[in-house]
Amino acid sequence: MKTKPGLLILGLGLLLTLSCSKYPPSSERLLEDLAVITQYDTKIDFNNYHTFIMATSIVKITNRDTTNVSDATATAILDQISKNMEARGFIKAITPVVPDFGVQVVYFQNTTVYTYYYDWWGYYPSWYYYYPYYPVYYSSYTTGLANIELVDLKVVDQNKKQLYLRWNGYIRGLLTGDHTTAEILRCVDQAFIQTPQLKTTAN
């Protein structure tokens, strides 16, 4: 009989332990996942656009420098974007005709820099990007982030020397886990899937 209170206290402790047990996953596990975030300019009609030009390399921005990457993964990502654009009715333009959209991918690694400019096409050197919408900002890109940008080359602000971004898709979490090219390509597809507005019937 003397052992009863002891057993009860033990049971009580067990109940507390069970009830307060931490539920998986920890936030670290969530960080290992890729997230796809897209945003488009709700004020424009994509039917007014019908051509695009693709960058042939990905711009990589780190704390140290900015480089162009054109390895197999970069090429696969750019091809996948191009396929999705064509599936949405846009036609790949042939230079030197100025297309309606310029598409480029910027990859941020270990950097907190947000303001950047990189005109892969060279149509408007030293101009600035402008988001007509309030973009989904992140305080830092330490988790690795690829930003697919759709730059409007048709409507340009000559006075302010601004280029408007009409759509962008972030693939976030590229540094935190062990992600395959196939996973990244699925994220590219997802970026388009979750933006059904990005299509044209102009052609």
Binding site: K4, P5, L8, G11, L12, L15, L16, L18, S19, C20, S21, Y23, P25, S27, L30, L31, D33, L34, A35, V36, I37, T38, Q39, Y40, D41, T42, Y133, Y134, V136, T143, R172, G173, Q190, Q194, T195, Q197
Partner: protein, 215 residues
Amino acid sequence: MKKIVSVIFLVFLTLGVVRAQEPTSAGYTPSSYYTFSWNTAFPIGNFHDWVSQPGPAGFDFGGRYLIRNGLAAGFNIGWQRVAKIYDNQTYTIPDKGIAVTARNYRFTWMVPFQAVIAYHFIPQKVVSPYVGLGIGGDYMEHHLMIQEYDIYKTCWDFSLTPEIGILARFGAFSNWGAILAFNYKWTTNRIDLYEEESRDLQMLNIKVGIALTIR
């Protein structure tokens, strides 16, 4: 041989009857009792759309004071969490043109606090079934976690909890016992996070715990 088997069977049967009668034999009517229970919540209705699996992470502390003829009044306070991971969920903010697709972790934790009235049908017995009603409120936090982002809202509510249960003492004169209860909880709490919208959150709860009765 048949006789021996019959006698043994009869002895066991008699012992069984004696043991079966023992738990319900009269001992004393407690003046009050306190319970500490492990609580498992089963979200139902709109709440089930938010988190569609039971939450075994919860506990409840209660006290009852017997007023007269099996009628008791008391309180319940506790803590409870329900949680689930959802893969590849897409959330949109149409007016801003934003869409987010990611694995997400949804959870709600709550602190219920209620005044309780209960009626014990046979309070003097070792096994004492009861019905009760809790009236009070909850503090709830609803979290939607995507990567390191934790989007959450807090909400207070009014709640009603009808309950049935059994208080069983370990012996006719023991102060210690066990409690097993089942209740349905209706609250005015709501979840309003992006496209997740749930109102009048409801859940079923199973409580298993220990009880300390005071003579």
